[in-house]
Every structure is written in C-alpha cells, then in structure tokens.
Amino acid sequence: MNRGELKAMMAELFRCDVNEIQDTTGPGDVTGWDSLGHVALMMELQNRLGVHIPVEDALEIASVSDLVRILDRIGSDVN
C-alpha cells in the first residue's frame, strides 16, 4: 500500500473527501476520525496489511505522518 492508497482508504472509512486527508491531518480533524474511527482505522490496517499495531503505538498517532512512521517501524512500508 502506498501513501495515496492509505489516504484513499482513510477517506472511505471516515466518509470524507480524500483531499481532506493530508499528512498533517490527525484525529479530530475530520468528522469520522473520532475515537471509534481511530479504532476502526487500526483494525482495517491490521486486516489489510497483516500487521499488529500495538495499543501504545495506536495511542501515539497524532497525524497521518505519525501513522506512516509507525507502520514503517512495524514492518509495513507505506510510501
């Protein structure tokens, strides 16, 4: 999955326009990215990428850039 596909997936999940998902966008910046949306995002990524995102990492995600960095660290390259 590349960064564009990641953003498209997030836009679909949060039911917003893909242009609303920027690298600096974080939880609370788009309507669907609330606490429930955040859990849904983690689950979806785990399903699609076959990785396990530890809770402590999930809690640290404050932006799309953070998410990409964490995915990168746990072995799922998103660029």
């Binding site: 606490s35 429930l36 955040h38 859990v39 849904a40 689950m43 809770v55 402590e56 809690l59 640290e60």
Partner: protein, 427 residues
C-alpha cells in the same frame, strides 16, 4: 427489532414482578432445545458485533457517542477477546472438550450457568465487558440497570440478534431488567437465581449485592470502589504522553475507578522539567475538556468542585483552572485531606524520592499510570504492587478495560473447572 430476551424487559418491569420475569425467562431457557454454540462460534459473533459498532450500525446511534464506545468496540474484536481468554486459559480447546494437561489428567471448562450483573450507575458500559466475557464462554446473563440509567444494553442486543443465528442465541440468553436500587424483591430475585454474581459500583452497591441471599455455590465477583493515581517523571515524559495522560483524566470525568485523581510528578516546581510538564498538562486538560463532551454538572457537583478548590487554597496549594468549573489542576505539596477529586479535578504532588509518596497511596488503589525510566519502573512497580496497585498502564491506557481487573481473573470465574483422571495407557 428486538429479540426474545430483551423483549421481556426492555421497559421497566412495572406490573409484573422482577422475580416473575426472571423465573419465566429461566424456564423458557431450560425448555428451549436449541443448538448450543461453542466458543469459536461465539467468538466470531462478538467479532461481527465489534465490526458493526465500528461501522456505526444505525441501531447503535445512541451508543457510539457514549464515552467508552470505542473501548468496547476494540474490546469485542475477535483477536483481542482471544488474547484475553488465553491469558487465563492456555488450553481453549477445554471449553469444547476434555483436554489432556498431564499424562493421566484431563481438564474441561464448563459454563457456570446464570451470571447476574449489577451494572454501575457511573459507567454502565463496564457491565458490557463482563457480559461479553461471560456470554463468550456460554453463560446465560441477567443484567440489571437502575430505572434511571440509559439502557446501553438493548441496542447492542438488537444488533447482535440481527447478525446471525449465534448472535441471536447470545442475545436470547441475555435478559435485561430494570428496577430501582430500593427494590429489594428485584435484587433478591436476581441473586437467588445466580450461579455467579458480578457487581460494579460503589461501596453501598457492592454491600447490597453481597448481603443478598444466593445459592451456596454462587461465585462472587465484586468490582467495588477503587482509587487511581499516576506516577510520572517530568524529565522523561513527552508532550504526546502528557496529552494522553490528560485523556485518562478527562475521558470519564473521573467517574471510572481507573481515572487518576492524584498525580505524583517527579521534579521540583520552579525547575524546567516540572514547569514544562505542568504547562503542557494544563494546556492538554484545557483543550480536551472542550473537546470531550461531559454530563451536565448538577448543583451538588458544582458545589463540590468549589469546595475542593477552597480546601486546596486554604491548605496553601495553587490552582490552575478555567473560568468556570470545567477543570481544575491543584498543585499541592501533599494530597489535601477531604478533596474528592471528581469531574476533571486533579491534584499534582511534586516529589523527588519514591519514599516520600508511599504514605499517600490510597488503601483501595487500583490503577497507577506510570511514565518512568526503565530502572525506576522496575523498582517502583515491585514495591507499589505490594501496596495494592492492580495495574500499571502507560498514559492513555488508564481506562482500557483488561483482564485481570481489580487484581482478579474474570473469565476463569465464569467457568467450572472439571478434572478427569485418564486410564493408564495400555502396556
């Protein structure tokens, strides 16, 4: 749509007595010769329920906006439930059949029967956690809500009923009853039919349940009044972690037993690390208090906050606060006697050595959120565990329900542990 179990009591029990409703429901459970579903099927049904919550099933509209809905959705995820079960039960096959654990010894885990849950008035969703674990291993469940509580359970049952036959069965094995706390007949009717009683709440609620007559074999799981704290090294905590610590304080308005009320912060006021911590923590509490909706404070709660603020000032403490009663951070040299610390009111106590803070640890400690260096973490947690702390999560995880909880395993108490000695192998 409502399923059979909820249909009986989705409304207050009214004219028919609670006891009569419970008896009829239990009789219907006994009579029904339905297919029994095992652990894997039940696990799959809960996973589907988690997905329905995450996809914001319209039936759950009223639920998904509640504090804790995201916790519940992630809790019900199949992989997460399975990891919790495995913490207690290494051989999950024993939920289905006898499993050999030694050369000539086998073990089988059987549901206990009827598990009765008294839900807490402050955080009713907690009851959904114990219900899910109990139903997952095949028990029938009776959930009691007070007449004044919002019914958070029936919408979940409705979605579960629509999922598939397994979900329908789990929902049918669940009865929701609503009655006042003074309805002793209602409490007794539940208790007398319980194979397990699980009570969430304050001292009075727990003691009420404990004093009720019950079958001699009934297992009690009592999740009573607990206090929680945080112990932080100001020099090592990041701004992100400070934000997550603020979430632990703000999220349930400190009504959950796992919400910290006292923060012990290593450092000295007037020194960079401590002052930075206090500034960033104050900003985080202020911004999150705006972002997270709260219940409407009644007059007594507002009065309590003002009273606590006065106590702090009269004790020589300093206050950081909003213009109203949204949030309060009290900087104090030691915890101020009599301060309740609810509704986003936290006392920050600076310290330099752990020895200086042990005496301030409440006797009923449950959660101690920690952010310490690696060596300190080991030293501190070894001692603090002996003083009663039940869990040491990181900032942001304070309110994540997990098992063990309150120092006790949960799932294994919803089960009977059956052993079998196997014949010697043929020579």
């Amino acid at each position: 749509m409502s399923h059979k179990g909820v249909d009986m009591c989705a409304v207050p029990c009214g004219d028919a007595s609670v006891g009569e409703k419970i008896r009829k429901w239990l009789a219907s459970q006994e009579k029904e010769n339905v297919e029994s579903f095992g652990y894997p099927q039940r696990l799959a049904a809960f996973h589907k329920l988690s997905r329905a919550m995450l996809m914001r099933d319209v039936k759950l509209d009223g639920l998904v906006h509640l504090s804790g809905a995201a916790f519940l959705a992630s809790f019900l995820d199949g992989a997460h439930l399975e990891s919790l079960i495995r913490r207690e039960i290494p051989h999950t096959d024993a939920l289905e059949r006898f499993v050999r654990i030694e050369e000539r010894k086998s073990i089988r885990l059987v549901r206990r029967g009827t598990v009765c849950h008294w839900l807490a008035g402050n955080v009713p969703l907690l009851g959904a956690f114990s219900w899910a674990l109990s139903a997952l291993v095949g028990n029938r469940n009776i959930l009691r809500l007070s007449s004044r509580q919002d019914d958070v359970v029936t919408p979940i049952m409705d979605v579960l009923s629509d999922l598939d036959t397994v979900g329908r069965r789990i929902a049918a094995e669940t009865l929701v009853v609503r009655f006042d706390r003074d309805d002793s007949e209602g409490h007794r009717a539940m208790s007398q039919n319980a194979d397990v009683r699980i009570a969430w709440g304050g001292r009075e609620a727990i003691e009420t349940v404990r004093s009720l007559p019950c079958p001699w074999h009934c297992e009690d799981v009592l999740m009573g009044p607990r206090a929680s704290i945080a112990v932080i090294d100001a020099a090592s905590i990041t701004e992100g972690a400070i934000g997550r610590l603020a979430t632990d304080v703000v999220f349930f308005d400190q009504m959950a037993c796992s919400s910290p009320q006292l923060l012990f912060v290593r450092g000295r006021p007037g020194h960079d690390a401590f002052d930075r911590f206090l500034d960033q923590f104050s900003s985080a509490i202020a911004s999150q208090s705006g972002a997270y909706r709260r219940h409407r404070l009644d007059a007594s709660e507002t009065y309590q906050i003002e009273l606590d603020r006065a106590r702090v000032v009269l004790s020589g403490g300093e206050l950081r606060r909003d213009a109203n009663t949204q949030w309060t951070i009290a900087l104090v040299s030691c915890p101020v006697r009599g301060v309740v610390g609810m509704n986003r009111f936290v006392q920050v106590v600076p310290f330099e050595s752990f020895r200086a803070i042990w005496e301030f640890f409440p006797a009923n400690l449950q959660t101690c959120i920690v952010q310490l260096g690696a060596t300190d973490l080991v030293d501190f947690t070894e001692r603090a565990a002996l003083l009663g702390v039940c869990r040491f999560p990181l900032p942001g995880e304070g309110n994540h329900f997990e098992v063990p909880w309150d120092g006790s395993l949960l799932v294994s108490r919803f089960l009977r542990w059956v052993t079998r000695t196997d014949p010697a192998p043929a020579p």
